[in-house]
């Protein structure tokens, strides 16, 4: 068992840093940069070279001391570690404004997240078509998830509905959930769940402004 498989050993912030290395390397590869020093990578990703070495050391040996990292190889390795070297069938629960914004968010497709179903409970929304995907009643989610072999769900319902929707998705066999509803929800241990709270980011700003830290 690699150290990264030990629960809690590889923290959420380490995964965030891996995402950030991946994004920087992806940009560099598009600009045809072949090699990057650990110093440069650290500056672009907003960290330091020792942290990069530590984060990567969980997964193997990358680059040679003194000769920098090969951009494309490292990008592919991190892509595989993050599970981005494959596509993930995803559904959206909630066809409101935020649902539509996420549905239209082109970065998702670029990173392999394919939205194959949209659910809502509102009869006025059910039956509408978003770019080829028909909005279905939430009660049909089990069928869609099974038929289309869906693994992930984005929950963008109002706060009051979120837990019931998460429960329904879990019963339907979903493997991972990203909850955008402004309420912390829970899922059984076999389902991976992350709560996203957009105001948390704004609070990071106001905290810094309040304290005079830029």
């Amino acid at each position: 068992m690699s150290p990264a498989l030990v629960r809690g050993k590889f923290s959420e912030s380490s995964v965030r840093r891996l995402s950030s290395y991946h994004r920087v390397l992806d940009d560099l590869a598009r600009q045809d940069t072949e090699v990057i020093s650990s110093n440069q990578l650290a500056v672009l990703a907003g960290t330091n070279p020792a942290q990069i070495r530590k984060d990567l050391s969980y997964f193997g040996t990358f680059g040679k001391r003194g000769s920098g990292y090969p951009v494309r190889d490292l990008r592919e390795s991190i892509r595989a570690i993050l599970g981005l070297n494959r596509s993930w069938r995803t559904v959206l629960a909630g066809a409101g404004n935020l649902g539509h914004a996420l549905f239209s968010y082109k970065e998702f497709a670029r990173y392999g997240f394919e939205i194959v179903g949209v659910f809502d409970v509102d009869p006025e929304k059910v039956g509408k078509i978003w770019d080829g995907v028909t909005i279905s009643p939430l009660s049909s989610c089990a069928e869609v998830i099974t038929e289309k072999q869906v693994e992930l769900a984005l929950v963008v319902t109002p706060a009051a509905a979120a837990q019931a929707v998460v429960d329904e998705l879990c019963r339907a066999g979903i493997r991972g959930i990203l909850n955008f509803a402004p309420r912390k929800v829970e899922a059984p241990p076999e389902v991976v769940l992350r709560n996203v709270n957009i105001t948390v980011e704004l609070e990071g700003l106001t905290f810094a402004l309040q304290r005079g830290i830029c």
Copy 2:
């Protein structure tokens, strides 16, 4: 100078935890809970009592050992630390789907973020009215920011436009920016900037699913 004022000393993840304590305490206060033990608070916020004590110790002494935390008092203290005990005039740069979703996001208003202006460069969008707020041309942002004493901006433009828009907002005197565009942008040192990347959250999910960590 309190330790929290030393740059880097109080990490981004500590601020995230403060946000989370605030949210839990806010829910408890609404349910008229008067006192909470550090153990219970830790469970609800997904951390441990020692971490809570450590995070709070930067800002003073809260609660009495053995008698738990007074819910409303602690909520008010954290609210003040996070800068949530006042309102923040905010503008939105980008009137697309995500912009509209953020504009309609009721949690923002609840936490004191008041969206008083919306900008876009698209002549088809300029002049439209969203819930009483007229979409203005981006070129008018300096006037609006000065006139309405705006401090914060949410940037929700396409990736290619983000840096130019951030530059314009900074010239107009904005104090803090939350960038949702899928490109890392930069701002002068006197402006507080956070880049939000929604795919990072999804990558946290796929990383865990890939590795079998729930």
